[in-house]
Symmetry: C2
């Protein structure tokens, strides 16, 4: 056993060695906020990516999916917010490729080594006349300290930037992992309107990198829900440029667990920030279902509760409306026997055998009034469990989206 | 061919011959509004019923389901609003039976001939000390003109009573069919927090009655959605007391189609009123999916769009946000090829081959601004179609439920 210092995650976008970034105003949004970002590795980096499972996919998702699968290396990622470049047909794909090409031209690299991400409104064409000068501006603005600007430039309805940096050791060499992400509507299973860019200077085997990313995403971004709407643009990209000089990490390498812990911890923190900053959200609610007959049942029951708008609206106030939780369990595809259900609000038992239990409404209300609480539901039908992270649904959610 | 006068549906609860009703204040709600209703047939009536498919079922649903299956006859229906009598365990079942018994006692009939419905808050016990005197009061208040009071007494968050009366002919005898129903949250597939009481003085074969009710419900109450939440209490009951003196209607009887048309038309109108009066709703939107590969795909695609909160919030304003419609189609379980999708707002083509089509935003906005419009989506993958009726989701929905 090796003793390691515990991982720390700072809410900063301190880029790993060999990475630079920038975030600028290209004029794609009406409000004169930063709307384009560039992430760049000075040397080609090993690449992994996961994408939305929506059948309607943005041009950028189709382009990047192909590049992750066939090339597996990247130099940079060019990002715009304001327009999603989804439902834009052949012109959209042409624009996505042009973004990569124009970026590549600035650095004299192959266009295939540039990935492209867009977020914003679906069905409108990209404003390429603003994006081209934006790319040139970004190339000039690239800086090792540009992570914060980039984190702001990818925001849409996000209220706060989301970024963390952590450190780990590989072959005795210090490595850094930085994650920069955005939410915050169209958030649900299998990636949301979320973009996440994960950058590390560790050297990592390509297949292992993809496997680690998939596993991390499954336990973080794929476990959150804001509104049960799954976006056309969800993308998580992970670049490892190897500048730390370690021997490439993969399962079996003694430092592989350190990287996995860093990646898992980072993506989980980014995911929780997305829920907390969900459109209109005021609280983060962990919905844990245990005692389910099957893993699929646990997942279905947790999602049914976490996505019920009657449940989510009840969390706005401080009313422990467990009847709505029972209702949502009952209509989920999961096997439920109402006479066995137990529901806890944090540690307080609210429902036992499907009936009101000991905890007083006053005590339960105090839990629901908190900024963060956990609903634990035991179906008492088996041994499987699943956790989904959700938020309340306030009038602001409607105001933002109407 | 027999010429018949076209069916007319008046928005009144004019009870059929031999039926009486009442609606009174028993004190179950805080606001001193009517909260108990009784429907009574002076002679035993043939009975049909359909119920929620939620696994968590109110005591009343379990009781009535058993009575519909095993007895198939009824004299009366006792209803309370304010408490749902769901998640109330054995005490709840005892209370439900006691409601039937106490009602039966007033008329000297068998308790098994009384059905019981509750609607309101889940998980709280019925206030039997108020319900018992309520039942006595109702028995005294029963009247052939009591339908309107009863329609008001079953309301919860409904803003308007929902009732229609229509007429048809069987064996040359005039028959009447009256429907009284309530919405208006927890409204989604397979019955909603909805109660519907359908009363006719026609004589109808019991099996045919059940079959006709099931078919009518499938095309009306099961095709609407307000918030995708399915309730624990949904119940539709149909009583036919035969007082019109016709020979019992069933398929093959020349007047069977007249009854079916009356029943289908009536339940459809009640269902549309439920959507229009959905919690916070300001408009009724028909979502029709055609060109689906399978019937299940058509249904899944229509429900995905009709239940998307991003789509529903976009209808609040007058923004034809078809990108969100494309997104919801894409994450539905239905097979979708975005390059084939066509979307119409009423008759205006907004999307063709997955891309923005000819109609200007200004013209599309005029459609979305209407109190009622139809979204027609052609997947161009097959020949199956499905229609779901939905509404917009306004800030009022949150205000009502938080």
């Amino acid at each position: 056993m090796k003793s390691t210092t515990p991982l720390t995650f700072s809410a900063k976008a301190t880029l790993p060695v060999g990475f630079r970034a920038a975030g600028i105003i290209a004029g794609l949004k009406k409000n004169r906020q930063r709307d384009m970002a560039l992430f760049f590795s000075d040397s080609p980096a090993t690449l992994a990516g996961t994408f939305t499972t929506n059948q309607v996919k943005a041009a950028t998702v189709r382009l990047d999916t192909e590049r992750v699968a066939n090339i597996g290396m990247a130099h940079g990622i060019i990002v715009n917010s304001g327009q999603a470049n989804a439902c834009t047909g052949k012109a959209g794909m042409r624009d996505a490729k042009a973004m990569a090409e124009h970026t590549a031209t600035q650095f004299g690299i192959a266009p295939e080594l540039v990935l492209v991400c867009s977020t914003g409104r679906i069905g409108v064409p990209l404003q390429m006349d603003r994006i081209r000068p934006g790319i040139e501006k970004l190339a000039g603005a690239l800086s090792p300290t540009g992570g914060e600007d980039a984190a702001r430039a990818i925001m849409t309805t996000d209220l706060v930037p989301k970024r963390y940096t952590t450190r780990f050791i590989a072959n005795g060499r210090p490595c850094r992992l930085t994650g920069i992400a955005k939410g915050s509507g169209m958030i649900q299973p299998n990636m949301a309107t979320m973009l996440a860019f994960l950058l590390t200077d560790a050297a990592i085997d390509r297949r292992a990198l993809q496997k680690a990313l998939k596993a991390a995403v499954d336990q973080s971004f794929n476990r959150i829900t804001v509104d049960a709407d799954q976006s056309t643009n969800d993308t998580a990209l992970l670049l490892a440029n190897g500048r730390a000089g370690n021997t490439p990490l993969k399962p079996g390498h003694r430092d592989w667990p350190a990287f996995v812990a860093a990646l898992d911890g980072l993506t989980f923190r980014l995911a929780m920030d997305m829920v907390r900053d969900g459109e209109g959200a005021q609280k983060l609610v962990t919905v844990r279902v245990q005692g389910a007959r099957t893993a699929a049942d646990a997942e279905a029951a947790a999602r049914s509760v976490a996505n019920s708008f009657l449940v989510k609206t009840s969390w706005v106030g401080s009313t422990p409306n467990w009847g709505r939780v029972m209702d949502a369990l009952g209509y989920s595809p999961a096997k439920v026997d109402e006479t066995k259900v137990e529901i806890f609000y944090d540690k307080l038992l609210a429902v036992q055998k499907g009936l009101k239990a000991g905890a007083s409404m006053a005590r339960l209300s105090k839990v629901v009034a908190k900024k963060q609480f956990t609903l634990t539901i035991d179906l008492h039908l088996g041994r499987q469990a699943a956790t989904v992270y959700s938020c309340d649904c306030t009038e602001d959610y409607i105001r933002i989206n109407k």
